[in-house]
Each structure stands twice: as structure tokens, then as C-alpha cells.
């Protein structure tokens, strides 16, 4: 056999499959997250089950092409049903999804347990896939061993999605951020919507065998959402989403190895871990940065209040009294601890100086107070 070239180790095949799934999914996921279609993707990932069963039934066994055809058809039916239900205006958007995909999934599980109870069509694998066997499911063409099938499928899907996003970048961007303008300029947002749904469907179907239904959703949505917390630029967001997804795949593989647990599960869990990191520590949108910004703002306003207060009472008869630290905290309704903090900061910023218990404005402090009160008067 001429298969030395393709004889890669099993681990490498699994990691590479994971990275390819992550890449293919993240490319589209960015648009799903921005267009608020995450749960529709989730619905599709579940609803293709009866299609796969039908393909299995027609081909009398596991067949890549029949499965693909059946699943794609099921995906189209799902999207069409959800939209038809929404268009009746009797059912809300999320409720339409909540009715359609469980029905499709129930139909699928019913068919599996009724007709294929003894056949190898594992329902657990539907949910969390079989990436562990990625290396052993080898693609043969004319009896030539071409290496793991999953790599070919996911590689092809990566290329398709790259082409889709690359070629229609401008259209996707416009239809996502300003559908009205897109329509006015002559490209139909509806057409783009359906094209996007089509590539999401075939990607889901392709990735489904590797990582299972729900984990496809993790790879589509979570890295894209992570990237959304890190940047405001669409192209950068796509790159970051792919990087986050690929990193999750690699990290997840080794964690699964250490725990002897589901590889796809660990990879998807890692997408969540990266999201959590971004949620907490993103410099622009993270919770910590946000809390800090809020705190800094609070301190700045407090310092301004302090100097304005001192400024207003400068050259007044009772200036001495007004400038006492203890009096300040009650006058400005500050907790004593907070007052000390503000005064400390103001001193460090050289806005005030302290002389035997009394606060005095410095030159810069007086300047700031004048500017601030002028601004406030203007507003009032």
C-alpha cells in the first residue's frame, strides 16, 4: 500500500479533526452570534437526527453521502418549519424553535429505537460524537487508503466556509449590521440568510459525526462569543474566534487524555473556559475591567466634588471648619473610610495638601475646581 504518507498517529488525527471542526464552526459562528441565531443553530444540530436515520435506512447501512443528504434535507425542513411557525404570528420566535427541534429529535430517537435497536447507530454518539475513532474511520477511494475520513470531510468544510466568508464578506457584514442598507444597495438579506443557513447546515452535518450535536453548537457559538468580547473589528473577531476554537480543541484533547473522559466533551468544555476568561478579563468588555472603570470614575467624580467643595468655601469666614477632614465626610455624605480614600488620592494627585488637620487646595486643585464648577454651571 502507498499509505505511508497518511499513516499519522491516532492522537494527531484526533487533534487535527478537532482543530478543523473548530475552524469550520468558528468561521460561521461569528455571524450566528452577531445575527442572534445561536439557538437556531442549536435547533438544526438536533433536528438532523431523523435525516441521518433516513439516510441510514435508504442506504441500508452507514453511508456518508446518504447521511449527508438526509441530514441536509432535515436541516432545511427545520429552518423552513421554524420560519413558517414564526410567520403565522401565533408563536414567538424562541417558542417556534422549542416546538420544532424536539419534535424532529423525538422522531429520530423513535425511529432509532423502533427499527435500529440492534444496529450500530448509537444514540449517545448523536449527542457527543465519536471523535476518538477519528483515526480509524479511514477513507478508501479505489482501494487506496487516503487516511482518516473525518479529516477529509472537515477539511473540505473548512475550505467551503473560508470561501463563503471570504467571497461574501462584504455582503455578510452589511446584511448583519444593516439589513436595510443591504436591501437598498441591491443584495437581498434574505438570500444571504438562507445561504448562511445552508453552510451552517452542511457544517453541522459534517461535524456531527465527529463531535455530536450539542458540541457542534459549542464550537459554533462559544469561541465566536469569546471573540466578540475581545474586539470590535469583524475580521479580527473571525480570526480570534478561530484561534479560541483551535486552542480549545488542543487543550481539550490533553485534558480528556488525562481524565480518560470524552474528548469532544473536554474540547467543548474548554471553549467555555476560554469564554469565562474573556468574560472576566477582557480589557475592553470584561467584567473586571468594567468594575475597575466604574470605580475609577467614582473616584474621579469624588475628587472633583472634594476640590469644588473646598473651592466654594475658600476665603469664607468658616473656611477653617469646612476644610476639616472629619467635617468633610459628613458634609459630602461620605463614609469615613471612603473620605480618607478620596483625600489620599487627591493628595497623591497633588490636588490638595494637608496642614494640621485642614485641607488646602493646591494650584492644580484650584484649576480643576474652577474648570469643574464652570462645567457644572454650564450643565445646570
Amino acid at each position: 500500500m502507498t499509505n505511508e504518507r497518511f499513516d499519522m498517529s491516532a492522537s494527531l488525527a484526533i487533534i487535527l479533526t478537532g482543530v478543523l471542526v473548530a475552524t469550520a464552526c468558528a468561521l460561521l459562528g461569528v455571524f450566528l452570534v452577531l445575527r442572534r441565531m445561536a439557538m437556531l443553530a442549536d435547533a438544526i444540530s438536533h433536528a438532523i437526527l431523523p435525516g441521518i436515520v433516513a439516510g441510514y435506512f435508504l442506504a441500508q447501512g452507514p453511508n456518508l453521502l446518504a447521511g449527508f443528504a438526509g441530514a441536509s434535507l432535515a436541516a432545511v425542513i427545520t429552518v423552513a418549519l421554524v420560519e413558517a411557525l414564526q410567520n403565522t404570528r401565533r408563536v414567538g420566535g424562541e417558542s417556534a424553535i422549542g416546538i420544532v427541534f424536539p419534535a424532529m429529535f423525538a422522531l429520530g430517537t423513535f425511529l432509532v429505537s423502533k427499527y435500529f435497536a440492534n444496529v450500530h447507530l448509537d444514540t449517545d454518539a448523536v449527542l457527543y460524537g465519536n471523535i476518538e475513532f477519528a483515526a480509524f474511520d479511514v477513507l478508501f477511494v479505489n482501494d487506496v487508503n487516503l487516511g482518516p475520513q473525518s479529516l477529509w470531510v472537515m477539511g473540505a468544510l473548512c475550505i467551503i466556509n473560508l470561501l463563503f466568508v471570504g467571497l461574501f464578506f462584504k455582503e455578510l457584514k452589511l446584511a448583519t449590521f444593516d439589513p436595510g442598507l443591504a436591501a437598498a444597495l441591491g443584495f437581498s438579506p434574505v438570500l444571504i440568510h438562507y445561504a448562511l443557513m445552508a453552510v451552517v447546515s452542511i457544517t453541522t452535518v459534517g461535524a456531527f459525526t465527529a463531535v455530536g450535536a450539542i458540541l457542534v453548537v459549542a464550537f459554533m457559538i462559544v469561541p465566536a462569543a469569546t471573540a466578540y468580547l475581545l474586539t470590535d473589528d469583524l475580521s479580527r473577531m473571525i480570526v480570534l474566534a478561530v484561534v479560541a476554537g483551535a486552542a480549545s480543541a488542543v487543550a481539550g484533547f490533553f485534558i480528556a487524555l488525562a481524565l480518560d473522559a470524552s474528548v469532544a466533551g473536554a474540547m467543548a468544555t474548554m471553549t467555555g473556559a476560554f469564554f469565562l476568561l474573556a468574560l472576566l478579563f477582557s480589557p475592553s468588555h470584561g467584567l473586571v475591567a468594567k468594575a475597575r472603570r466604574l470605580q475609577r470614575q467614582r473616584m474621579r467624580v469624588a475628587m472633583e466634588n472634594l476640590v469644588v467643595h473646598l473651592f466654594n468655601h475658600e476665603h469664607q469666614a468658616y473656611e477653617e471648619h469646612e476644610a476639616e477632614v472629619a467635617h468633610l465626610s459628613s458634609e459630602l455624605r461620605w463614609q469615613p473610610g471612603f473620605a480618607r480614600q478620596v483625600i489620599g488620592m487627591a493628595k497623591r494627585a497633588q490636588l490638595v495638601q494637608q496642614a494640621n488637620g485642614h485641607l488646602m487646595l493646591t494650584g492644580t486643585g484650584r484649576e480643576l475646581a474652577q474648570r469643574a464648577s464652570a462645567l457644572r454651571d454650564g450643565e445646570g
Partner: protein, 297 residues
């Protein structure tokens, strides 16, 4: 007739039917509020999020006592809710995206734990995998009792706070202006949905739980414009599909209960959408055709 006799005297069938009907009632009632608040998929996210909770409870307690596992599920669902709220409130990610994130990552973590447990202990001894697809056929009298108690508590709270929940569902801003603590009410309502989810996991499983909350409410909404009537109808539809699913599944070999419950429910919802008086789509189409004919004359 034979079916009716089995329903009363056959131990397994009685438990399955009772459990399924019970689930239908509880999720039907709570689903009404979820659907009216446009949170139809919250139950879906909570059901998925429950899996790691169940697994951790199993690992900590070294036992599969039902109440311990359900407690784990409830805690995990609660944490998921809080995370969901934080994401929606503090970032620009939409509710739709936040649901997807919480649902898929919690579930993935659950799968890691589940496979970890399965490989360490005896494969199916843990019995945890029944939560994935539900196993109504395995319900015993004890399970049904637990379900009844949990469901009873949830329904009692709905009755007690009916006015508050109603206001929250239709006009949360108005409720807040009247001085109700809408945050607390919202969290309470979500916690009740967690209870419905916890009851449903054993019967229909993680994936199909979404329909148990959405289906009866959507069906009931078509028949009435009154909340109280809608709730009663939803409970009825839920119970009916639970019963139907249980009965269909015993009628032949190899028919799983959970999916049959969902398919019965879908049939009821579809029928309601098409044929309910006033809102039915069929009548709508007929009215339009008659108008067209009248215009043509």
C-alpha cells in the same frame, strides 16, 4: 378496556403514566409563564445545564439516591441562570447567544464528567445516562412520589403568587413601578422552572425537555385570551400527552416513552394552531378566501 385495566393494575404502566402526566401538568403550567415572557428556550438551557450538577452530586455522594441527584441538577440549573443573567446584563451578547453558550458548555462539562464516571465505575451501574434521553419506563413508585411532592410545591407557589407572576409576565415594568421586586419574582419563577426541568429529566431527558415547557403553552394559547384558562388548558394538554405517550409506548415493543410524549404534544400543538376557534390558521385562510370572493363579486 384492557388498556384501562392495565393502567390501574399494572405497576409499571401506572407509574409511567402517572409520572408522565404529572410532568405534563407541572411543565404545562410553568411553561405558560416562560412562553409569555418570551423565555421559551430557558428550559432547554436549564435542562442541559443540569447534567454536570447530577454528575457532581453523584461523585460527591457516591450514591444515586434520586433526591441527591435532583438537588445537584437544581443547583447547576440555578448557577446557569445566574451566569445567563450576568452575560446578558453586562455584555453585548444577546440572550439568544447567552443561552447557546450556557447550554452547550454546561452540557459539554456534563459529558466529560459522565464519561469520567462511566469509565471509572461499572458502565451502566451509575444509571446516570438515563438522564440524557430519559427513561420513563424505569420510573418506580418512589420516583413518582418525589415528582408529586416537588411538582406540588411548585404549583402551590404559582397559586399563591398568581397575581404577581401574571403582572410580571405581561408588564414587568408596571410591576416594578407598583413596588414589586421584579428581580426576586423573576428568579423565583426561574427556580420553579428548574423544578419542572428536574422532574422532566428522568422522564423525557435533556433534549426533549424544551418541548415539555413550550408545547402545552403554545397549544393552550390558541384557544383562549385569558391567562387562567390558558394555564388550566396547558396543564390538561400536558397531562394528556403524558398519558398518550405512556400508553402508545406500551402498545408495542421498542417504542420509547419520552419521544412519544413529545410527538403527542406536537400533534396537539399543531391541531390547536390549525383548528382552534378564532386563532386557527385554517379559519384564517377560509376567511381570507371568502373576502377575496366577496371582493371579486
Amino acid at each position: 378496556m384492557e388498556l384501562l385495566r392495565d393502567l390501574i393494575f399494572d405497576y409499571t404502566l401506572r407509574n409511567v403514566a402517572l409520572g408522565s402526566a404529572l410532568l405534563g401538568v407541572v411543565s404545562g403550567v410553568l411553561g405558560c409563564f416562560a412562553v409569555l415572557r418570551r423565555q421559551g428556550l430557558l428550559g432547554d438551557a436549564l435542562a442541559h445545564a443540569a447534567l454536570p450538577g447530577i454528575c457532581i452530586a453523584y461523585l460527591l455522594a457516591h450514591a444515586k439516591t434520586q433526591i441527591v441527584l435532583l438537588l445537584g441538577a437544581a443547583v447547576a440549573g440555578w448557577i446557569a441562570t445566574i451566569l445567563l443573567l450576568q452575560i446578558v446584563r453586562h455584555t453585548r451578547i444577546s440572550e439568544d447567544g447567552a443561552l447557546g453558550i450556557v447550554l452547550s458548555t454546561f452540557f459539554a462539562f456534563g459529558i466529560v464528567l459522565l464519561t469520567f464516571i462511566t469509565k471509572r465505575s461499572d458502565a451502566h451501574q451509575s444509571g446516570l445516562d438515563k438522564f440524557l434521553f430519559g427513561q420513563a419506563a424505569a420510573l418506580v413508585a418512589e420516583d413518582v412520589t418525589t415528582m408529586a411532592i416537588l411538582g406540588g410545591v411548585a404549583l402551590a407557589i404559582v397559586v399563591l403568587l398568581y397575581k404577581e407572576f401574571k403582572l410580571l409576565a405581561f408588564d414587568a415594568a408596571f410591576a416594578a413601578s407598583l413596588g414589586f421586586n421584579t428581580n426576586t419574582l423573576s428568579v423565583l419563577l426561574t427556580s420553579l422552572i428548574v423544578i419542572a426541568v428536574v422532574i422532566g429529566l428522568q422522564t423525557v431527558g435533556v433534549v426533549l425537555m424544551a418541548a415539555m415547557l413550550v408545547g402545552p403553552a403554545v397549544a393552550a394559547r390558541q384557544w383562549t385570551n385569558r391567562l387562567s384558562a390558558m394555564i388550566v388548558l396547558a396543564a390538561l394538554f400536558g397531562a394528556l400527552s403524558g398519558l398518550a405517550g405512556a400508553l402508545i409506548s406500551v402498545s408495542d415493543e421498542g417504542i420509547p416513552t419520552g419521544p412519544m410524549i413529545i410527538l403527542s404534544l406536537t400533534a396537539i400543538a399543531l391541531f390547536s394552531l390549525l383548528f382552534a376557534p378564532e386563532r386557527g390558521l385554517v379559519w384564517d385562510a377560509m376567511r381570507r378566501r371568502m373576502q377575496k370572493a366577496a371582493l371579486a363579486d
